[in-house]
Amino acid sequence: MNKPLSDKSWQYRQLNAVTPGLDALSDALIELVAAGEPIVAGTADLQYSNGLAKFHALHPDRFVQFGISEQNMVSAAAGMAAVGMKPYVATFASFLALLCCEQIRMDVAYSKLPVRLIGHHAGISLGFYGTSHHATEDLAIMRSIANLTVIAPADGNQLKEVIKAANDYPHPIYIRIQRGRDPEVYAQRQPFTIGKAISHYSGTDLMIIATGSTVHPALEATRALRAAGASVGFLDMATVKPIDRDAILDAAGQSPRILTVEEHNVLGGLGGAVAEVLASEGLPVKLTRHGIYDEYSLIAPPTHLYAHYELDAKGIEARATRLLEGRA
């Protein structure tokens, strides 16, 4: 009577077990604590959603529960950094980047404090939880804040390497991640260099550039297009700011068409950043920015939304095909 009957039933505190991918954030921080780093992790009543419950259990003395007070969390993290700690604070990307925008700008970025801001469940990955929980503006907002580096890892292994690379990075960082269900892009951990795009394929017909959650489906689309005979290249632009200018120029040199793919408004995010580089160099490249087209997403399970907005592998392939055929 006191237990669920089915082992398929689960409750919130079992999220880590249901979604093992959620361990990545905690595991990366646990490694740093083991290395003697003055790490402190905090969250605003979401320790199961972002998996920090695992870190909490192992290092209760290095975990801070802020409750539902995101702005207090960001300002307090800045205070902690100001006296020598390396704080990681995590909450939904929608709340972190929008609700706490001013605390990020004033207390973290302007003050040049090495706080790591983890915006999780970014994009439309919270599906039917609705617009309040979607973050399709965060890249644009965070990218416009001086001193702030913006990184969107593609999967758990890359996240771990980003956190490792971030350890001695002197600037504050906004790290945009998903909900721990990311399919694996990088089977092995490979050293991550902040500000450097990762080239997977070259291409003379089309270059696809993706970031974060869209890397996996865009890479699958790239492979399908290549298998069908098109020369399609692919870049993982995990660091959205500072953007890898050289990689973009190289892509523009290879192909007359570039397609950016992001789980974000097409305004101001990855596509915007790439457009700025291409335009400022005066390069005659046909750029198509694919993402959410300046609208609020519908409500649906995430996979249904990705299909609807052509952000899954099939959709991205279809979008790229239209571009290759000169239809749009």
Partner: protein, 289 residues
């Protein structure tokens, strides 16, 4: 006289009190001098806090002259960052910044502006300018100090109008919940904000009961009685085992020391022509508090 910091007894000596009064006067006079350079500034926000600044920087806080980055120093920050013009002269007086930097206050390339900037000014422990963040940052510092095994105190001055910011109350919950006993808040209860009386705009009373209800140890003090302020701060520091954060409600007068500023809230921001500055200086010189 050197920074005392000795605190051999809980009540400062007459000589120490005279020194702290003198430094509060110095703070006010320098504020008038610096605002003459900028041609606009927050005189009255400094004047309500001058004795608090003096008691903190010349008595309560553990500081080392000329070593603004000493890692075990006590920290100070203020949500009412617009009073920074009164703090900069003290930082120069403590050899944290060069005195001649003051002479270029707000001029192109000078690090000193209307609000304090930790990235530009040695001795500023945290930047401010957007009201409501400081107590949160102070909570973070005090908590990190405990995690790092440090013994420093964190002092956060906030304005009474600042209590209208919701984030202050997030920090109030957080500080009490985490038992931040080395966090000392000070409300400069001068009663006024830009648009008028705090109580007319969005009332904040009962302040003491609110902080008590939030779990903070509260003290009310006459913010212009520098001996009382210093005694209170020494007393608080004498108990190093405290497990609750402290909020001091310092009852102050906005514009204290200049008669017409004390009675006109519009002086929150303003400029004194040199002829009026001379009269203000004469009133401050003659102050007996």
């Amino acid at each position: 006289m050197e920074i005392t910091g000795g605190r051999n007894s809980l009540r400062p000596t007459d000589e120490e009190i005279a020194f702290l009064k003198d430094r509060a006067k110095f703070c006010r006079l320098e504020t008038i001098r610096l605002i003459e350079i900028a041609k606009v500034g927050h005189y009255t926000s400094v004047f309500s806090a001058a004795e608090l600044f003096s008691a903190l920087y010349y008595d309560a806080m553990d500081l080392r002259r000329g070593e603004p980055k000493w890692e075990d120093r006590d920290r100070f920050m203020m949500g009412k960052g617009h009073a920074a013009v009164g703090l900069f002269p003290l930082l120069a007086d403590l050899d944290f910044i060069d005195r001649d930097v003051l002479d270029g206050y707000t001029r192109l390339g000078n690090p000193l502006g209307d609000h304090p900037d930790m990235t530009k000014v040695p001795g500023i422990d945290f930047s401010s300018g957007s009201i409501g963040h400081a107590l949160s940052a102070g909570c973070g510092m005090a908590l990190a100090g405990r995690m790092l095994g440090k013994d420093f105190y964190t002092y956060v001055m906030i304005g009474d109008g600042e209590l209208q910011e919701g984030q202050v109350w997030e920090a109030a919950l957080f500080g009490a919940h985490n038992g931040l006993g080395k966090l000392i808040g000070i409300i400069d209860r001068n009663g006024y904000q830009l648009d008028g009386s705090v109580d007319d705009i969005i009332g904040v009373e009962p302040i003491v009961e609110k902080w008590q209800a939030f779990g903070w140890e509260t003290h009310v003090v006459d913010g212009h009685d520098v001996a009382a302020v210093a005694t209170l701060l020494r007393t608080l520091k004498a108990d190093r085992e405290r497990t609750r954060p402290v909020m001091i409600i310092a009852e102050t007068v906005k514009g204290k020391g200049v008669s017409y500023m004390e009675t006109e809230p519009g002086w929150h921001l303003g400029y004194l022509d040199p002829s009026d500055a001379a009269r203000a200086i004469a009133e401050i010189e003659a102050m007996e508090i």
